[in-house]
Amino acid sequence: MQATANGGQLQRLVIVGNGMVGHHCVEQLVERGALARFEVRVFGEERQRAYDRVHLSEYFAGSDSEALAMCEADFYDRHGVHLHLGEGVLEIDRERCEVVTAEGRYGYDQLVLATGSYPFVPPVEGSSGTSRLVYRTLDDLDAIRAAASDSRRGVVVGGGLLGLEAANALKSLGLEAHVVEFAPRLMPVQLDSEGGAALKAQIEALGVGVHVSRATQSISTGSEYRYRMNFDGGEYLETDLIVFSAGIRAQDALGRACGLEIGARGGVAIDHDCRSSDPQIFAIGECASWNGSVFGLVAPGYSMARNLAALLLGETSTPFTGADMSTKLKLLGVDVGSIGDAHGATPGARSYRFIDEANAAYRRLVVDASGKHVLGAVLVGDNSYYDTLLQYCQNGIALPADPATLILPQGGGAPALGADALPDTATICSCHNVSKGAVCAAIDSGCSDLAAVKSCTKAASGCGGCAALLKQVFEHELTARGVTVDKSLCEHFGYTRQELYGLVRVEGIRTFNELLKRYGKGHVGCDICKPAVGSILASCWNQPIMDAALVPLQDTNDTFMANMQKNGTYSVVPRIPGGEITPDKLIVIGQVAKKYDLYTKITGGQRIDLFGAQLHELPLIWGELIAAGFETGHAYGKSTRTVKSCVGSTWCRYGVQDSVAMALRLEDRYKGLRSPHKLKFAVSGCTRECAEAQSKDIGVIATDKGWNLYVCGNGGMRPRHAELFATDLDDDSLIRMIDRVLMFYIRTADKLQRTSVWREGLEGGLDYLKAVILDDSLQLGSELEAQMQHVVDQYECEWANALNDPEKLKRFRTFVNDQRADPDVHFVREREQRRPVAALHLIPTVEEAV
C-alpha cells in the first residue's frame, strides 16, 4: 500500500471492465478527487480504452476507434489511474481480496465489477464463423468488416435497438441489409404493433429488408449466396453473412464463479448502493441485477456509476431505485421514441393514436384512467414531440383538455432547413433586435420589397451582417403568401446572378460595360450589380482586379486591396499558407508592423492582421512584405481566405496524414479564387479535428486511408456544420472534388451567398449535390475542373501586380493634390499598441453639414 499525502494509507480500488460505465465511474472518481484517497486500478479485456458503444455504427461511417474513444489517450496516465488494457480478470479470490489476471494477482480493498454484457446468440444449427457474427465490440466490427469485403448481402438476426444499429452498419459497408425478427414487430420492447409497422415501412423505404415473425431453425449452404437461413414453415433467406443481435446477457461469470448472489434473470445481484452480496464488491451497469432487472441502456449504468463514486468517497449518494427506460433514438435515420408505459400495460390506461400512413409516421399517447396524466408514449418518424411528452410523463404535469393535441401535427414541430425553420421569435437582426415575426408583420402591413422591409423594421441597417438571412426570410415569406419573388439582381439587370454568370461565360463577356450594354439598363450600374459582376468576371477570367476597367466595380476593400476599418484606415493581412511561417518571415512582419506602428493581432484563420495603415502607406507596406516573399492574403475579397490546419502527422503523435502539406496544396491552388462570398477551408490531420474543419466551407479530415471531405459549413452569425460529402479520397481525387464543388457553387449561387445558404437552398439537397459532383449526373465534372484550372493558371499576386504599375499606384494617395496624411485620423495607445480614438461627433444634422 502507498501512503497518502497526509500520512494515511491509500485504499486499493480495483475496477473490472473499461466500458462506458466503468469509464464513467473513473471519471466520477477523478472529478470528486478520489485519487487522493484511492489507488485506482482498471482492467479492460479489450485492447482499446473505453469507447462509445452507443455510436458503434459510426465506425463504418468514417470514424475510427479514436473518434469513438470516451477520453483523451492520456486521461488515465494524467490522473494517475493504472489502466491494464488487454488484461482480462480471470478470477476473483475473495478470501485474499485479490483479482487474478494472466499477468499476476492484484489486491483490493474495494472491488467494482463493470463487466457489461455479452450478445446472446440463440442456438441455431449450422451457425459458425461468418454466419455467427456478433455486434458489440470494435473487434466484432472488424470481423464484420472483413466478412463484408467479399459479400453482397448481410442479415441481422434481431430487430431490436442494437439489431437496427447493426443493420445500419451493414448498410454503410455497402451491403444489401436485411433484418430478421422473431417477434411480430420491430423493437418489440419499446414499440406497439402500429409503431413497429410504421418503423418497418420507413426502414424498408431505405432499402433494408425487414422480415418479422421469423424464427431461424438452421443455416445451410446457399445457392446464390454463401448461406441459406431456413425459417419455421419452410421459408428461407440467403445471405453472405449473419450478425446475431438477439439481445444481451449480463456478463456475470466472475461473480458466479466466486459465489456472489446472482439475479433471477442473470446479473450480479445488487442493493440500492450497488453493493453485491459481498460488502467489499460492487457491480454497476449491465452486469448488475437490481430488483431482478438488468438495464440494457447506458443512462442507468451512468447513474449507478455516479452513485457508487459518491458512496465510495463517503459523500451523500442517491440510492439507485431503478431507471426510466424512456429512450429517444435515430435508427437508420428514422426517429424512434419510447416513453414510460409505451404499451399501455397499466390497468385502466387509455391511448390516443396518430397514424400518418403517407409518411409512415406514428405517435401514441398513453394516459391514465382519469385522463389527467401521461403514462407513456410511442413515437416513430418524428421525435420533436419527445421532450414535451417526457416532461408531462416525468413531472406528472396535468394534461390539456384534449390530450390528443400533444401528438397531432403542429407547425412548429417539424424540423426543416432554412428560413422556414426559424420560429417567429428568432432574431434576424441583432443590432436592432428585429425578430422574424416583425419581418413578417412588415410584409403583411404592405412592405413589398426588401428595401421597404429594411426601412420599416431597421433590419440589416446596423452592421448589415444579417442581410442575406433577411433576404432569405423575406423571399420565403413572400412565396408563402403566394407572391412571385422578383429575383432580379438590381434595377439595372433583370437577371439573377446565376443567369448573369451564364451570360458572361457563354458570351465570353469580359467587362462590366459590355454586359451592361447588352443585357442591362442605364450606363452606370450601382453598388449591388458592380461588385457582383466584378466577382463573376473574376471567377470566370481571373484578370487582375486592379485593371482599369475592373477598378470601378470593386467595393472599396477590393479597390485598395485592404480591409477598411471604422476610422477609414486599413488592415493588412499577408497570406500565411496553412498557418505555417518561418521565424524569418515572422520577424519581417514584426519589423513592418513596428515601422508603420500597426496594431497587430492574430486572426482566427492562423494569420496576422496589421491595423491602422493609411491609404498612402499601403504600397510601402506591401513593397516590404513582397520583398520578403509574402503574397496578398485576399482578406478584403469575396474569395479564398485561409486554409487552417493542425500540425498533422509530421509532429503530432495522433496525426494520420500530413495535414499541413495538404493545406499548403489547397491554399496554393485556390488562393485568389473569387466567389459569391468568402471561402474558408481547413485540414485536420486526424479525427480529433483540431483545425475545426467541420465549421468551414471546405473541410478536410484525414483518415488512415486518405481524406474525408466535408462541405458547406460556416461559423459566424448562423453557424452550420459542414456535411460529410465523400470519404477516404486520395490527394488528387480530393482536389478534383473540391474543384467541382467550388466551381458549381460559383456558377449557381446567388450574390453574397455563403456555401451553407446555397446548399440549404439547393433543390434535392445534399443528395443532389453528391449526384452532380461525385456521380457526375449532369456530366459537368470535367468542365468544372477545366474552369478551375483556368482560374488557377491565371493567378498572380494582385499586390505584386499593382506595385509594378505606376498608373495603379496613383490610386493610393490620400489626397491627389497634397502629400499630407489624413489629419483627422487619431490614435490613442492601449496595451502598448495604438487604436483609433472613439469618434465624438457623429451624424451631424443637415443644418450642420450644409
Binding site: 452606370v524 449591388i528 470601378p552 490610386r811 443637415v846
Partner: protein, 120 residues
C-alpha cells in the same frame, strides 16, 4: 440684404485643385482644399461628368466618401459610403436612406485639363 450684394456674394471663386490625369474614371479621388477634404467623382461620357462632395462620412465620422462606389438608384447618381453603405446623391449630397444626413457639395468643372472647384 439687397440683390446686388447677393450677386456679389455668389460670384464663384474657381480654384484649380488637380489635373484631369489625377482623376480615376467611374470612381473617386480626394483633394485637399484649404482644410476641407473634397471627394471628386469622374464619370466620363456623362452629361455632367464631374461631382464634388464632402469626403467626411457623417455616420462614421471617417473621411472615406471618396473611396465609395458610384451607382445610379432610380435615376439618381449616388455614392455608397464604404463603411455602412448608405447612399448619397452626388448632385445634392442628400442621403437616400436618412434625410437627416447630407454631404456638402461644391460646384466643379473641367477647364481644359485643370479640375476646378468653386469656393464659397
Amino acid at each position: 440684404m439687397n440683390s446686388s450684394n447677393v450677386a456679389v456674394a455668389q460670384q464663384p471663386n474657381w480654384q484649380t485643385v488637380c489635373q484631369r490625369g489625377d482623376l480615376v474614371a467611374d470612381s473617386g479621388v480626394v483633394v485637399w482644399l484649404d482644410g476641407e477634404q473634397v471627394a471628386l467623382f469622374y464619370l466620363p461620357g456623362q452629361a455632367q461628368p464631374l461631382y464634388a462632395v464632402a469626403n467626411r462620412d457623417p455616420r462614421s465620422g471617417a473621411n472615406i466618401i471618396g473611396r465609395g462606389l458610384i451607382g445610379s438608384i432610380g435615376g439618381e447618381l449616388t455614392v455608397a459610403a464604404p463603411l455602412y453603405k448608405q447612399h448619397f446623391s452626388l448632385r445634392s449630397g442628400r442621403c437616400l436612406e436618412d434625410p437627416q444626413q447630407a454631404l456638402r457639395t461644391w460646384p466643379v468643372r473641367l477647364a481644359g485639363e485643370a479640375v476646378e472647384v468653386a469656393m464659397r
